[in-house]
Symmetry: C2
Subunit: 391 residues, 2 copies
DNA sequence: TATTTTTGTTCGATGGCCTATCTAATCTGA
DNA sequence: TCAGATTAGATAGGCCATCGAACAAAAATA
């Protein structure tokens, strides 16, 4: 059953809309917010008053005069409104980012990871504590925490399966809320990163984009029609097992020629090793390419071609506006691009290929933790989804 | 700018929800509708009163007693509420269906098509006039008309391009409203058929499904998260040019091995002709298969395999709950199925393949005109979409 | 200094939904 | 037969939302 549609929901929706409008356009006046949201200025007045009561918004002391007439008073989302904590939880590392409610980064922190759940959680707690001390805030300032995890979640925040961590069927959200004593949101890391791209990255005005990343495998997330698409079972986005080479490399899934046997970090390192080229990680690969290493460049170009082939089918089917390369793929993005764009132009239908552009994510290593920030923000701001039968 | 969120919008949403609940569950009482929509019975009371004022709903005279207490009075969407007209406009044929507002079919009608716009529109008007006479209704009873066209539409109802009809940049919606003097909705035929499947067919409870059809090409429509997904430019769903055979048949798009060179009606007829088997249309092919013609069955099985391969990538990426074969593919669906399901099981990731089921559409030839009905219903019932920044 | 101009607040109107109460219609059981 | 129990639906009052219009505030301008 979907949510009740009543006046409380209206206010919840408009509150979120006004807040996000101010987040996107800092130092706006009430008049600006009215224009941005389409709401009457009287409504904006009461909504802003409520946001002030919630300590989410502050009005600046001095006012800026535009030309004639009463000057506008600028509004802001102050640091005193509280902070958000975004976490990337991985076998190899735990990365923590703290931001204001507006998404401005206050500090970073990183720690070696762990495969044992209890150890990982304890380390996480210690890391966040240290990070808070570093930026001079305490727990009372934390509004919410969001965590991106390489695994599959259900809607209630239960981790169904995380192969890389070796975790299965863990009530991770409940455990973290117990641990931190504040609201916690959890989601798949790639999906979280895609949401971050939408709220803080390069997709702020883009309703339809595909986000691709490549670590151990190749993950994807689909942002369709202004919202993240999760699929019937929450698995949507599994682009890594698209078949790109008939009878190609053997994949962990048991089939041959899957995309992720060519373009994941693991695959690239393995294939370079096969050529006698040692690289510790994707950064080292990028460095080699930067130095003009021909074989490395060729291999990345080929990987880009395979990725472009897989994406071309997706472009034909989904007609996105933008494709974003994130995570490890962003690190070598510049070297994947030529092959990728060539394959895309050759394989995708002309009008669709012409409209889509491919970009490298600007969020870098912070993509997933910033996704945690986006999840946390959603957690206490987003109204419930409501469904109406329609086309 | 998205719609204003105010109390008028709330009522619009709840009106639509109650109407659809009654459409889905005929002869419901107000109490039933309250349970179905989650709304308070007081709210249901006023909403039903308004629906009655709008002549959309009627209360039955006699009442049905369940056990003890005051008996319920059943509500219905009566024929006197008006009728809807659904149209499929094609080069070869114009097909018209009339239904009640609840979607119950009142009559069918078909006519040879035309490639000339003026002739086609005149013929359409005459066909609808005749059909109305046949079911004993006149134009005053028509609430709205919906038309499915094999071509690309923009959001305002302008036909951008219809290669099969040879039309380009035609303000088809405005022309039809002029012609009929009542509200008209237009959309791509495959997308319309998918909406019909959702409202009247086998996907009434399914929020995530892929609809596939094959006429001259292979078309698809994506119903994702409870609504039809159109893509950034309205092109979403082009499954026909997925590459399924490297270096395969030459396609009209200039590339090789596209899906639609194997499984469209045109492709199947052409490939059968290459084997010396003459079939006039897809119905004849189905008949041959029915008679046990080995070569025909083999070719359909192979087509099913190619379709299954294309769909397997899509299943991996979109994680749908259901795949529906419609249009001409439904006619030979039984013979495509074995190859299709085999390919799907082999190629798609196990947990995803296990959850998805493939079905043949029950709507048959009426799928597109019923899509017109769905569009027409949406036109005067669906509230405006509202967007909230979120994940 | 008075006027103009623009911003933001407040008040009343309107119209949603919801709680509580009331009425209607039937069944139950003595 | 008839009073009570039970359930469906209507109505009134409360609350809260947006919105239009009048109002207050603050600065530039003449």
């Amino acid at each position: 059953m979907s949510a009740r549609v009543n006046s409380a929901l209206i206010r919840q929706i408009n509150l979120a809309r006004v807040f996000h409008a101010l987040r996107e356009h800092p130092e706006s006046s009430q008049r600006d917010l009215g224009r941005l949201t389409g709401l009457d200025k009287a409504t904006i007045s009461t909504v802003v008053a409520q946001l002030q009561d919630l300590k989410l918004v502050e009005r600046s002391e001095q006012s800026k005069a535009r030309r004639v007439g009463r000057p506008e008073t600028a509004l802001s989302i102050p640091r005193s409104a509280g902070i958000l904590v975004g976490v990337r939880l991985e076998p190899s590392a735990i990365r923590v980012v703290t931001t204001t409610l507006a998404g401005a980064v206050l500090g970073h922190c990183q720690l070696a990871g762990s495969l044992d759940i209890d150890t990982a959680l304890k380390a996480l707690r210690a890391t966040v504590d240290r990070e808070l001390a570093e930026i001079g805030e305490d727990w009372s300032a934390v509004r919410a925490i969001g965590v991106g995890i390489p695994g599959l979640m259900d809607r209630s925040g239960r981790l169904v399966l995380a192969p890389n961590l070796g975790w299965r069927d863990v009530p991770i959200r409940a455990m973290l809320e117990e641990l931190f004593g504040c609201p916690v949101e959890v989601d798949n890391d790639t999906k979280a990163a895609a949401i971050a791209e939408r709220l803080f990255g390069m997709c702020r005005r883009t309703d339809d984009f595909i986000y691709v990343t490549g670590d151990s495998g190749v993950g994807g997330a689909l942002f369709l029609g202004g919202r993240l698409y999760r699929g019937a079972g929450g698995f949507a986005g599994e682009i890594g097992h698209t078949k790109v080479v008939p009878g190609g490399n053997l994949c962990g899934c048991g089939r041959r020629g899957c995309l992720e046997t060519y373009v994941s970090e693991a695959a690239i390192l393995r294939r370079l090793a096969g050529l006698g080229i040692e690289a510790a990680d994707i950064g080292a690969v990028a460095a080699l390419a930067e130095q003009g290493h021909g074989q490395v460049r060729d291999l990345l170009d080929e990987a880009g071609r395979h990725l472009g082939f897989a994406l071309s089918n997706l472009v034909n089917i989904l007609n996105p506006q933008l494709i974003v390369l994130g995570g490890n793929l962003a690190v070598v993005g510049a070297w994947l691009m030529p092959g990728l764009e060539r394959a895309l132009m050759e394989q995708a239908l002309v009008p669709l290929a012409a409209e889509v552009s491919v970009r490298v994510s600007p969020l870098g290593e912070d993509a997933v933790p910033m996704g945690g920030i986006a999840l946390a923000l959603d957690g206490f701001l987003a109204p419930p989804r409501l469904t109406v039968p329609r086309g």
